[in-house]
Structure formats: C-alpha cells, structure tokens
C-alpha cells in the first residue's frame, strides 16, 4: 500500500445496462499531480463523482490517510478534506469574492447571526495572498474572468483545509497566459503538500504538470505510469488502444451526387466550416467534446443562427434556416442531448414518435386511429421496449429513448440525416442496433453525418472523416488512411 494519501481499490459501479466502472484502482500521493486520462465515457467522471460522494458505488474500498472511508454526500467529502473544481463553475455571481470563498462558513460578528465583514475580507485577503493571487476580495464574482473564478474556487478549497483537489478539465474555458497562472497555483498547492487529481484531454498540459498518469478505458484501469516514462504517441495509444470490434458491418458505399454542402459556415464556437455530403455516404465528424461539433450540427439544422456562410441542399441555398424548413428540405437531426432537444419527457411514446411528422400525414384534425397504428408499427420496427405506446417516455431507458428519437426523425423520411453522438449513454446492445441502422440508411442512399467522440464508432461507420479542433476543421481523412491515433493527434495537438 505504501504511503499513499488516498487510494481507491477495485471500485465497481453499474448503471442500468452499463458497467461504468470495473474494478478500478487509483493511488494518489501527497503533494503530487496525478493526471487521469481517457476518452469520453471511459469512466473518469464517474470515478471522481464516487470519490466526492455524489454517486454511490457497488464494490470496492476508498482508503484515506490509512483508514477506509465512505462518503455519503458531497458535504461528507468536503468535510474530510476533498474538493472538486468542476468544469462548469457554480458561483454566486452577485456576491463578492470573499463571500463566495466563505459561503456557509462566514466568520461570526458580535451578535449571533451577524457576519463580521471585516474579518471575512481580512481572511479572504490572507488566503488569496498565500496563493499569490492578485484577485481583490471585494470584487463581485460576476466581474471576474472564468480563470479568476477558478482561482477563487481553488482558494475556497484551500480554506477548507483540503488535502486533495480534483480538477475536471480546468483549462477547457481558459487560454494561454491563464493556463500558466493556473499551473503556478497548482505548483503552490503541491508545495503545500496538497494532492491534485487532474482530468484533461490536452496532452501538452499533462506533460507540463503531471507527475503520474493513470489511463482509463471503457470503465477499466489500463495503466498507471510516471509521466516521464510516457510521450504523446505512447499515451494516445494507451487511451484509444482497442481493436475495432466486429460489431461494424461496413460496406463500401458508392457515394452519389452531393446532397448537402456547407460553405464557410461560422457560428457560436466554430468558424469557416466547409464540406459536402453525398448521397449514400457516411461523413464522420470527430473531435473532442466542446470542439464545436454539436454547434455545427445544430446550426446546419437551423436550431442556432449562423454568423456567416451558407448551407446548400441539392445546390439550392437555404436562406432562412429553421428546423421546420430543414424538415421540409429533407434534413433530420438526431440530437446529442435527447432530454434537451429530442424528447418531450412528459408526453407518451406515441406523441413523441409522431410529433415531427404530424403535418405530413394528418390534417388539422388528428386521425388518432392512424396515429396509433403508425406508432405501434414504429415501436415494433425499432424494437422499442415499452409496455405500450401510451407510456410516458420519462420512464424508459436511455437506449429506448434514443430509439424513439430515431423513429421520430425517420418518420419524416429525411434524405440527409445528422447523428450527433447517437450512442451516448446507451448500452452496447442498443449501440449495435443503431450502428446497423446507420449502415442500412447509407445503403438506401441517405446522406449521413455522424458526429461522435467514440473513435471506433467513427472509424467503423464513416467513409470520410472530418476532425474538428477548436471550432475549425483540422483535417479531412479518407476511411482508409484514418486510425484512432491519427484522429486523436489532429483532435488534440
């Protein structure tokens, strides 16, 4: 066991239908930066949520300072000396830096229930100074930059006598100089003996800051090595490292005429995107989460406004893109977040399935008998497991919900179909069925855009692959020349 500050031993966790973690172990040393790496869905977040007491685990032990611990709530974990800096910060924007740092633990005044503002500010100033931070404690939180807010979060963690700080992609919203400052602060922390668990996708950062690197894949622990023994290439190989499984039944498609063309499209989080998709072709779009892929898809579909550029369908420019126009022009979007843009959770399976196509087969008055027949057929065709078509979709599993979204979109018989992370959060069985559907649709002559963070999926299904990094196309690859390592290189570095 050695003298680890904190160990997770053989942690397992299952969600309905998915084994999220399979006997994963992690050993963290005092005063060291331990990087946790892996693809999206590898299980890093789940492991960290377990450590922080946000999610219960099925098996295994957590050992902290030599004794087994089990945190029942985040409050427990924080009290014991853990802190997590989330990717999305949740500050109180209208309060000052000092008030944010000591939220819930304000120093008392003379009368009970009152706060001593003087002591509050004084304590905050000392704390910020000890971290060599130049944020003024009386500023309002909302006036700070994202990087400064992160610093305040870190200061808050320190003020709690924290021993371990977990940072979940802390650099996803900050840039160059701010990253340098963050790293300086991290070095201050480790000098004080605090351990940092650092989750990131960015290779260069990892090698700058990490002492030890643990790689996870598919919910399993792959390896833990000192950072000096690794390099870019080796690390990428460890992260992706799996064989293409036989679940992909890829045919060589013969692309026909161009159905969709995107010219110099710009918008929120992306710019200058140009590509074409042809009849009978699967165009894969790879890239890290947050690279702008979803924004590109939703802009093409008309859910977001473009800042510039144009979309052409069958060589005809779409002037005012909106979802209803897109549907009329034969585009379908299976969106990334089914709860946000895919489903009406309070409505029944039937209502959801027919929602997008009512105008196609029903007049002003609904033909309910026909609707019932259609929805029953769809439930069968897509193998949606539900007691009846009248069931509220809220109660169904992720895989079944995704099939409902698919069935809804395909009822309109679109020619161009955009799949945005179509297999996120669903089990391998449902995944395989969705892969088969995508392949079949391409064979029927549909033009398909397939966005995914799961590289085997992109490689197994696509005829061509666009790699997106920071909102721009960093490389276009033909199916033959692409490997997971090459894609990762263009996505990350």
């Amino acid at each position: 066991m050695g003298n680890y500050l904190f160990s997770a031993e053989n942690i397992s966790k299952s969600f309905p239908g998915v084994k999220a973690l399979d006997k994963v172990s992690l050993h963290v040393e005092k005063g060291k930066v331990h990087a946790l790496m892996g693809e999206n869905g590898a299980g890093k977040s789940t492991l960290m949520k377990i450590v922080m007491g946000m999610v219960p685990y099925d098996e295994g032990t957590l050992i902290y300072k030599g004794a087994p611990v089990r945190f029942l709530s985040v409050h427990d974990a924080i009290k014991s000396g853990f802190a997590m800096i989330h990717q999305e910060l949740l500050p109180f924007p209208e309060l000052t830096v000092a008030e944010n740092i000591f939220m819930g633990r304000e120093p008392g005044g003379i009368l009970p229930g009152f706060i001593s503002k003087k002591k509050l500010n004084e304590d905050a100033r000392q704390l910020l100074k000890s971290l060599k931070l130049s944020v003024k404690e009386t500023r309002l939180m909302k006036e700070l930059s994202v990087a400064e807010m992160q610093m305040v979060e870190i200061a808050k963690a320190i003020s709690n006598n924290t021993d371990i700080i977990i940072m979940d992609e802390p650099t996803s919203a900050i840039s160059g100089r701010e990253v340098t400052i963050l790293f300086e602060v991290i070095r201050e922390l480790t000098a004080k003996g605090i351990a940092v668990i650092y989750i990131s996708h960015k290779m260069d950062e990892i090698f700058q800051i990490a002492d030890t690197i643990t790689v996870m894949r598919d919910g399993k622990h792959i390896t833990t090595l000192p950072a000096k023994e690794l390099n870019d290439e080796k690390l990428i190989q460890l992260i992706v490292g799996r064989e293409l499984s036989s679940i992909f039944d890829k045919k060589n498609n013969m692309p026909g005429e161009t159905l969709l063309e995107v010219k110099n499209l710009s918008g929120e989080k992306f710019s200058d995107i140009s590509f074409v998709v042809k009849k009978g072709e699967v165009l894969g779009i790879a890239g890290l989460m947050g690279a702008g892929r979803t924004e590109i898809a939703e802009t093409i579909y008309g859910l977001r406004r473009p800042a510039g550029g144009a979309v052409y369908i069958r060589n005809k420019r779409i002037h005012k893109p909106s979802p209803s126009v897109s549907i009329k022009n034969g585009i379908g979007l299976i969106s990334e977040d089914r709860k946000r843009t895919g489903l009406v959770l309070t409505a029944s399976v039937r209502h959801n399935i027919t929602m997008a196509s009512l105008e196609k087969w029903s007049g002003f008055l609904l033909d309910k008998r026909k609707e019932q027949k259609v929805s029953r057929e769809q439930v069968q065709k897509f193998g949606i497991k539900t007691p009846s078509a009248e069931q509220t979709v809220n109660n169904l599993s992720g895989g079944n919900q995704q099939k409902i979204v698919l069935s809804k979109v395909l009822l309109n018989d679109p020619e161009i179909i955009i799949f945005d992370e179509p297999t996120r959060g669903i089990d391998i069985g449902a995944k395989t069925e969705i892969y088969k559907m995508i392949t079949a649709l391409a064979e029927q002559g549909k033009a398909i855009i397939m966005i995914s963070s799961e590289l085997p999926e992109v490689l197994g299904l696509s005829d061509r692959i666009l790699v997106i990094r920071n909102g721009r196309i960093s490389k276009e690859l033909a199916a033959g020349e692409a490997t997971q390592e090459i894609i990762m290189q263009y996505a990350m570095i």
Partner: protein, 310 residues
Amino acid sequence: MKSVSNIFSRYGILLSLIFICIVLSFTTPNFFSAQNLLIVLRQVSINGILAIGVTFVIIAGGIDLSLGSVLALTGVVAASFAHPDTYPLVVPLILALLTGVVIGAINGLTITLGRVAPFIVTLGMMTIARGLALVFSNGRPVTNLSPSFNYIGGGNFLGIPVPIVLFMLVIIITIIILSNTRIGRYIYAVGGNEMAAKASGIRVNRVKLFAYIVCSMLAALAGIILASRITTGQPNAGVAYELDAIAAVVIGGTSLLGGKGSITGTVIGVLIIGVINNGLDLQNVSSYYQQIIKGVIIVGAALLDRKSNR
C-alpha cells in the same frame, strides 16, 4: 395498493368533487336539486370560461394575469355598442371578441418576439386593459343595454340559462382542439419541452400566439356574458378573476410547469370551487371564511397532486 393510488392519481379530483357533492347533499338542505344545480352552473360559467382559456396558456408553458382586466374592458366595449336601437347585436359581440383577439395577439407577440417573461407581459397588460376600460367608459358604468344583448346573460335556451349553454359549447370545442387537432398536440409539446418541439419542426411562436389569443378571446366571451348578466358594462368588474381561474386550473391537475393538463380537469376544478362556494352560501357561512376555505383547498389540491405524481 398500487392500483388504488393509480386510480386516485387519475380520478382523484373527480372523486373529490363527487365526495364533496355527497357530503353537501346530506348536510345542506336544497343543495341536491335541479334548480340549485343550474344556479351553481350559471355561477361558475364565467370563471369556467376564463379557466379554460388560461388552461391553454398554462399547458403551453405560460401564464396570463390579464384575464380579469380583459373581461372588464371587453364588457365595457360590448356594452357601449349595445344600447337599444343603435347597432345590431353582432356589432358589440364582434367588437368585444376582436378586442380580446388583439390583446391576446399583443401578449403573445411580446412574449415570443419580444422574449419577455409571460408573467411580466400579462401583468403589464392587466394594468393596461384595466386603464383602457376606465378610459373607454370615462370611469362610469355603461348602462341602458338592449333586451337582445341582455338575453345572453339572463335568458334561457331550451330551458337552460344561456351562459351555461355557452360554457358547454366552449368545453366541447376546446376539448376537441386540445386532444384532436394538430395545434392542440403542439401546445402540449411546446409546454413539455420547447427545444424539442422546435427541433421537431414545430413553429413554437405560432403555437404560443394561438394559446394567448384563445385565452383572451375566451376572456372576451366571459366579459360579454358578465356585462349582459348585470346589464352593465362595468369597468371595475373582474378584479382578481384571473386568480380564481388559475386556481381552478391548478385544482384540476394542470401543471404550472406546462406540458400537462386537460380541459376536463379544469372544468372539475371550476366545479369544485363553485360547489363549495354554493354549499357555504346555503349554510350562510360568511364570505370571509369562504375565502379562507378556498385558499386551503387550492394548496391542498396541489399537495395531493405532488403526492400522487411522485
């Protein structure tokens, strides 16, 4: 046990209504008679029509606080064109309904295109419409109305008071719209998840606009009925009526979060409030206490709804 709670969650409010009626039948003389039943129905028809209108808006995920003022304004408008021997009856009716449509459209457009919260927009409209009613009538009740106009609120059709007939018609038409038409389905979709509705090609703004127009138009109908019933266009009429209407909707199981609810539920909610008011009236309970009891029922109904939906 599960099936019992299932039945309760589905038919709970209907069972409550029946239960209340049974208790009142035994404890209150004169409650259970055809005559009293007609009285109750006539009393609730105005709140009923308002509540049905606001049900549309609430299912679509919005709220309308301007109903009471719209009722007053449209009542004044109708009355002003309903003096004897001036215009034919259709003129005041059409003008009042049109006023309702215009106000609903302004509410809807400000909410959708202006992207202002429905609460704020309709709160503003509440004051604006009230002010318009006072301006239009110079602050004085509009009296001396034609007999044909007064028939709407006071007359009988086949032995049934006209307000009840209109209430029934509104119930039937709105049930058909909400459960058997495309626009009705879209109202549920927009209230349930606006983003998903938009991504499904539903023109969300039009759907919301429709809901607000229906709501104000029904408020105008209620305004006509009230003016005719009291034979006066009263600019101060209908203060806080919107709250009674929303209360009925909530008692009827419609979620204030949108996406869920029904006209049947609202009508039952309206009847529960009406029957209890009537019973307490017959028992000579002071109207002060009646208010307290009504408040308790509203919160109680919401509590029950939370429990059965868990």
